[in-house]
Symmetry: C2
Subunit: 319 residues, 2 copies
């Protein structure tokens, strides 16, 4: 039962990049004279700049790994429609992530100038265009999930929209960012820090897992044990990701990270390292990895190998 | 076949306000200890401030009027589910409109301090919170359309998401705003002005009409003549709305409008009045009203009276 994560993720990421490039505000075809194709070039360029050629694509990988984990015994045409759905979900969740970075980097938020090794969107295109590009990327995420060309059943489309909207909204990512805003310069307890991150980054990471799992045959939906296992995995992994992020913010340099290192401390933001110290943070990350893997054990998933390998990669990454 | 618009819209708006108040980031129930209910009070407050107690609610009225126009001969439980869907669509489209105003008023965009007679969201809550509130309102729009409690069929949920995402995104409202950005200080032709407004305000107004029409029995979908008539109505109405907006910007005062009057001219933005002059703009608005009504004539709609009355109200309003 060995699993080659590198080969699987290389192939998965190739497909994700191809799909993103085709779906994110492409140049209109020369023949397209139909209304609705006049989106200005600058906006399309800013949207593509924000999304393409960058990022670890962890969320798309989680979607595709979770889809892989639940797929079994589907008729070929059903499997194909659900695979298409998972690719749409993978891209949609990355668009939400990308828009959140664009807005988060703006002067009124984190005011950052470097992202994925490049100038941030507002530095490159101006603040107004960055604001609009982020807004348009969020809308596009839901458009991808429900496009006329989408092959998955409508009930899967609606479920994906529901999961993504909840993970992105005020009870998810946006809510976590608001807590983050309010916490600058505050001394948080470990519990408060966990609550913040469970929303800010955890909700979308866990949402990615649940969206992948939602790409299953509506006639044979995932059972409660499966869903509970995947939710537990997603929650532990989401928190582990943030703990490791906080560790790397103090142990890695900007060139390796592709973003400004040490900025949490510079902005006086509470982090796991500031609350627990470096050594206990590292131990905690390993503990969360073990929790994530344990959650999968009793879930009865057809093939959880990609999910397991991704959890290991998240915790033991160097950037 | 007389129709009392005032009575119908009073009742419709009562229902919309009640639904918005229940659905937009309400206080968590005292007993709710479940994860995901920790959204910070400041964010919820900013979201509610942006949406509740204000606005003409034209988009929700268009959704509900279009639903009314296509409803006929449905079984009672089907009609009830579709009415619930139309109310969700009405609120969702208003959330998109509200978020666009929050972002549009920010300093990096129009930098406006007054909206619906109140300080704008960023003046009241700060720029960062305004940015997040807008983002969270957009996500909430899609959550409303696909909530577990939503009674309409999944195929209607997915169609509503598709229509809303397209109307809001880079080929719709956000694209129009980007054209608007690029047009400040430019001399636009009438064609360019129309293209900009067809996206900036027209897409969401037309989208409202099409979303209301999408709330029909999937077993008996609207025919092409109906859809074409509604699309023509929505396009003409959307443009008429903007022409009248431009007229009121020069003929009404801030107190009547509830927003800063004369700001287009102050910002050197091209408007119908600046391109056509006041008298020709007024004639054009009446011509568009006639077009909107004519589009409904051959559509074979069961009851288009509310749509007709709304078009008349849009063109002959004083604020």
């Amino acid at each position: 039962m060995s699993f080659d994560l590198a080969a699987w993720s290389r192939s998965a990421l190739d497909s994700v990049e191809t799909a993103l490039s085709a779906w994110v505000a492409p140049e209109p075809a020369a023949s397209a004279g139909a209304p609705g194709h006049e989106a200005p070039a600058a906006l399309r360029e800013a949207m593509r700049y924000a999304v393409l050629d960058g990022g670890k694509r962890l969320r798309p990988l989680l979607v595709l790994a979770a889809r892989r984990a639940v797929a079994a015994g589907e008729a070929p045409e059903v499997a194909q429609a659900l695979d298409d759905g998972a690719m749409r979900a993978a891209c949609a969740v990355e668009l939400i992530h990308a828009y959140s970075l664009v807005h988060d980097d703006m002067p009124c938020m984190d005011d950052d100038v470097l992202r994925r090794g490049k100038p941030t969107v507002h530095v490159r295109f101006g603040e107004a265009q960055a604001l609009l590009a982020g807004d348009a990327l969020q809308a596009l995420a839901f458009e991808l999930l429900t496009a006329e060309q989408a092959a998955m059943p409508a009930v899967v489309q609606a479920r994906l929209c529901r999961l993504l909207a909840r993970a992105a909204g005020y009870e998810g990512m946006a809510g976590g960012q608001a807590i983050d805003l309010a916490s600058i310069g505050q001394a948080l307890t470990e519990d408060q820090l966990r609550d913040m991150h469970r929303l800010k980054t955890g909700a979308l990471l866990q949402g990615s897992v649940m969206m992948g799992a939602a790409c299953c045959d509506p006639a044979r939906p995932c059972g409660p044990a499966m869903l509970e296992g995947l939710a537990g995995y997603g929650a532990a992994l989401g928190l582990a990701f943030q703990v490791v992020d906080d560790i790397l913010d103090v142990t890695a340099d900007s060139a390796t990270l592709g973003k400004t290192a040490g900025k949490d401390a510079a902005q006086d933001k509470p982090t796991y390292v500031s609350v627990l110290g470096l050594a206990r943070s590292q131990a905690y990350a390993q503990e969360l990895l073990a929790q994530a893997l344990a959650a999968l054990d009793g879930a009865g998933l057809p093939d959880a190998r990609a999910l397991r390998a991704l959890a290991d990669m998240v915790v033991n990454r160097s950037r």
